[in-house]
């Protein structure tokens, strides 16, 4: 059984808990073990990066150092922000001797070292490139036939580092969801900004960003938006009342791709956290298409 280190980050224990709730059983169903880092800390966070980049890197590097110590070859970071900050820190470690110096000193103070190994991977990347679509198809017990999905990637998993997919037109999630039986609607806004943390500080432009994505998904005939990022999920799912009051009603469920995988694998909907959305997805087991397929 392959084992990866697992860095959940704060979101997966909080507002994004449905992500973790679906991620862990899906990986388990695929015979992949995730070992959570012990005593992990804040990833450094994009917000802190904007205030003090070097200190943010120091925080990220403690997690990297501990992952290296844990000894598994690679680490999975499901939250896009964690994924980016951890990778950016690795980048600085290799490219900037000055930042490296600060990090090494800070790590030495807590008896840690980091050699720059341990790749930080996104679960979407691991699913498609390590495990493979064939393996995933084998686990599908309840194909999501007829479910129309807008695959929404957000910005951070493809920019600035496009390590496993195209920067402008990523297709990894499309292929994965197709393997589950979903129908993908053409979605030109797949990497457009969700509003990010702007919605917390300057609500109007932030909400507009979310509204544009929601409205386009509805216009394209999607039943549901699939995402890979807790902040995207929160922005797209959490402000429907405000958006409806300001513009028009754009209610459509936004779920994690792992939740759709769990559904297709025949896992329990409640166990996958599908009830947690403000705009919940219609229970799939009740859909006529799903009923037609033997479990």
């Amino acid at each position: 059984m392959t084992t990866y280190s697992y860095f959940p980050g704060c979101s997966l224990k909080g507002i994004g808990r449905a992500y973790e709730e679906s991620l862990l059983p899906v990986f388990q169903a695929l015979d992949v073990k995730l070992e959570e880092l012990e005593d992990w800390n804040c990833c450094g966070a994009t917000a802190y990066m904007a205030v003090d980049e070097v200190k943010a890197c120091v925080m990220a590097s403690r997690n990297l150092a501990m992952a290296e110590k844990l000894g598994h070859k690679e680490m999975i970071a499901p939250c896009s922000a964690c994924y980016l900050v951890l990778n950016k820190t690795k980048h600085y470690l290799h490219e900037s001797p000055a930042v490296r110096g600060v990090i090494e000193k800070a790590l030495a103070d807590v008896n840690l070292t980091y050699n720059g190994n341990t790749p930080v991977r996104h679960p979407l990347d691991v699913m498609v490139r390590d495990i493979g679509l064939d393996e995933i198809k084998k686990r599908v017990k309840r194909p999501l036939t007829g479910l129309k999905v807008a695959a929404y990637y957000g910005c951070q998993i493809v920019r600035p580092y496009a390590t496993f997919d195209d920067q402008y037109n990523p297709t990894t999630m499309d292929r994965l969801l197709e393997a589950l039986g979903c129908t993908l609607v053409p979605f030109p806004l797949k990497t457009r900004c969700c509003g990010a943390s702007l919605t917390g500080t300057l609500p109007e432009p932030g909400l507009l960003c979310s509204k544009i994505i929601l409205a386009e998904a509805i216009k394209r005939g999607a039943d549901v938006i699939a995402t890979v990022c807790p902040l995207c999920q929160f922005n797209l799912d959490g402000y429907h009342d405000k958006i409806a009051a300001k513009w028009n009603d754009c209610r459509i469920p936004t779920v994690y791709f792992t939740q759709l995988m769990g559904l297709a694998f025949g896992l329990d909907e409640r166990q996958l956290g599908l009830h947690r959305g403000f705009v919940a997805m219609k229970p799939w087991s009740a859909q006529p298409a799903a009923a037609a397929v033997p479990a």
């Binding site: 195209d166 402008y168 053409p186 030109p188």
Partner: protein
């Protein structure tokens, strides 16, 4: 050193100030005084410019007055002036190889900052040269006759022009073209910038001249498979693909096409960039040269997967009748050609627009490449010049995006040079054909050519909108009713300072120029080099722009880098002139610094043979010894160093010379 003392040589030493290039960092008189005392040195001088006429005359005069028999000049790189000084030594009455040059400019004064140390280094280098030159032997420059015939590879406008120039000068030319017709990219263009004269009107007369020229052997649908030999004596193997039509018997009447069992054309038409259709038996375009049809075995019913089945009723053969030009049994043939010089004009390929997915080529049917538009506006194109989109509508608004695949770290970093101009040409033609509103999105407008900037002015007056900004994306994401069903270009207008969304019916991508997909194979075959971007490398970017690092092989046109038609033709003429100069001299002079085998000592181990980068070494089976072809040897010394029995010696670099030089450089402390 003892060795030098025993030598009865009379050496003259000259150190050059090179203005202040050397003298500012090296104390030249001090070096001259130092060398003066070395054994064998009869006189030692410093002089402001040794390469000047008085400098050269000084050497000649000294040789006579002081009976010098060896000369050393310490100055710049031998690449620049070794030839100059060897000539001066020869004019003074000595064998030119009783000379040695020391590079104290590039290797010393230009790269050091401490005058004392730089002077000491110059002394050491000079000391080495003095000891080395004493061991020099008299050598002879060999002359090898040159074969007067020429091979031109690639029948685009560059190859056509080079071949015509050579043929008109009375040389026999072989022109090899991979496609069924010559003409290249230019034949696909509608008009040419900035004069707007029709590309076909100026190209096709040259094409038919090539086809009928008595001095030109035209080999279309053929590829060069192999090249052997050396400057003046190349043997080239040309592979002739079967076109299933006997060229000499086909009159180009096209009855076979009219009578093909396929009543309607239905296969991808390469010449029209897939916008039109052709039959399995076809002629690429009306003015194709030669006027000979070709049969495509991939789609012809008489073949299956390219293998002859003879299952078609062959109405083409019946239509051809007595001419009997169609021959389904034709096989690939191979032909050897002997030439003295080769001009490579293999051209470019256009950038694949799908590599920039955000511009939607291949995803949105109404996104076109510029080359597709050339065919679409052309009177002999798939729509007879009527601009209709893939969905059948006529565009009322068109956006042209510049620099697609150019000036971008993610794709190609270079500027493709022609796109600004051809974009404006297409803007003009599209406006003329459709009356549509046209927007051109550019990063910088590059119009450096005769009449080019004036053409830009003309377009501005015609009402084409120019927006400075790199387009972010082409999307079908509509935000307003007027954007519905349109292609929306999102761009930061960097002059107006805000982000715009502009809806269009049609989007045209000005794709850049790239090296041909097989440029690396061609490079290897002709022993050329490529720059980092993959275009063939010229010997010198300014002073030898059409020469390569292999003697007798020249390059011209877009295989060397992106360029437009005027520059391509100029370069093709230059390459032809260089080749002519070589041929008309009648012989090649060969540097004597080649390697040779000491037959008595060679043990026949063959370890040198695979190491030679110029394939100059062969194995003589009767003698069981290696032999080196002097004409091919470039004097790199690899075999000399590798020979386990020390039985390979190189002129000007024999052990005695090299060890003396090393002793000399170490003698100075």
């Amino acid at each position: 050193m003892d060795a030098t003392k025993k030598q009865d040589v009379r050496i003259g030493f000259y150190i050059c100030h090179c203005g202040s290039n050397i003298a500012a960092m090296v104390d030249c008189p001090a070096v001259a005084r130092y060398v003066e005392k070395l054994p064998g040195v009869v006189l030692s001088r410093d002089y402001k410019y040794m390469c000047s006429d008085p400098g050269q005359e000084l050497i000649q005069k000294d040789i006579k007055e002081h009976q010098l028999d060896r000369v050393v000049v310490a100055s710049c790189s031998p690449l620049l002036h070794e030839h100059t000084f060897r000539a001066a030594v020869e004019a003074g009455g000595l064998n030119p190889f009783f000379f040695h040059m020391v590079n104290i400019r590039e290797h010393d004064s230009w790269v050091h900052t401490n005058k004392v140390e730089a002077t000491e280094k110059a002394k050491a280098l000079a000391h080495a040269a003095i000891q080395r030159v004493a061991k020099h032997k008299s050598l002879e420059v060999k002359k090898v006759p040159i074969h007067p015939d020429v091979l031109v590879v690639g029948g685009g406008i560059a190859g056509i022009h080079a071949a015509m120039t050579m043929a008109n000068a009375g040389k026999k030319v072989y022109l090899v073209e991979r496609e069924p017709s010559i003409g290249g990219h230019m034949a696909k263009f509608d008009k040419t910038f900035p004069t707007l004269d029709c590309a076909a009107c100026i190209l096709t007369p040259k094409m038919s001249e090539v086809g009928s020229h008595p001095n030109i052997t035209l080999l279309t649908y053929s590829e060069v498979a192999k090249m052997d030999g050396y400057v003046g004596n190349y043997t080239v193997t040309v592979k002739r693909k079967p076109r299933y039509v006997i060229e000499d018997q086909c009159t180009g009447c096209q009855e076979c096409i009219a009578n093909c069992v396929y009543k309607e054309p239905k296969f991808h038409d390469e010449f029209n960039e897939g916008l039109g259709k052709r039959k399995p038996v076809y002629i690429p375009f009306p003015q194709a040269t030669p006027q000979v049809v070709a049969i495509d075995p991939k789609v012809c019913l008489n073949f299956r997967n390219g293998v002859l089945t003879d299952k078609c009723k062959k109405s083409c053969v019946t239509a051809c009748g007595e001419k009997k030009a169609i021959d389904f049994t034709q096989q690939e043939t191979v032909q050897d050609i002997k030439v003295g010089t080769i001009i490579v004009t293999t051209g470019f390929k256009t950038f694949d627009a799908k590599r920039v997915p955000q511009y939607g080529y291949g995803k949105f049917p109404n996104v076109y490449t510029a080359l597709e538009i050339e065919r679409l506006v052309n009177a002999s194109g798939p729509t007879a010049g009527h601009v209709v989109m893939r969905d059948g509508r006529e565009p009322k608004s068109i956006g042209i995006i510049h620099c697609v695949g150019s000036r971008d770290k993610k794709t190609n970093r270079w500027c493709s040079r022609v796109c600004c101009m051809y974009s404006m040409k297409l803007a003009h033609l599209l406006k003329e054909h459709t009356g549509a509103e046209i927007y051109s999105f550019y990063i910088d407008m590059r119009t450096p050519g005769k009449g080019y900037e004036e053409f830009y002015d003309k377009l501005l007056e015609e009402g084409v909108h120019f927006i400075r900004g790199r387009v972010g994306e082409v999307t079908d994401w509509a935000m307003s009713p007027e954007e519905e069903g349109k292609l929306v270009i999102r761009v930061e207008d960097t002059l107006a300072g805000y982000v715009r969304r502009i809806p269009f019916d049609m989007v045209v991508l000005a794709t850049g120029m790239e090296p041909q997909a097989d440029a690396q194979d061609v490079r290897r075959m002709f022993n050329m080099s490529c720059g980092s971007e993959g275009f063939f490398l010229e010997r010198h970017p300014k002073l030898a722009p059409v020469s390569t690092f292999t003697e007798g092989i020249f390059i011209a046109g877009a295989c060397q880098g992106p360029r437009d038609i005027p520059d391509t033709v100029a370069q093709a003429g230059a390459a032809a002139a260089e080749a002519l100069a070589l041929i008309d001299k009648g012989h090649i002079e060969q540097e004597p610094n080649t390697a040779f085998i000491l037959d008595d000592e060679c043990c026949g181990c063959k370890s040198c043979i695979p190491l030679c980068p110029y394939t100059a070494i062969t194995f003589d089976e009767s003698k069981k010894k290696a032999t080196i072809n002097e004409a091919l040897c470039k004097g790199c010394g690899t075999c000399v160093a590798a020979c386990p029995s020390g039985s390979i010696v190189q002129n000007l670099f024999d052990d005695e010379e090299i060890f003396s030089e090393i002793d000399g450089v170490l003698a100075h402390d």
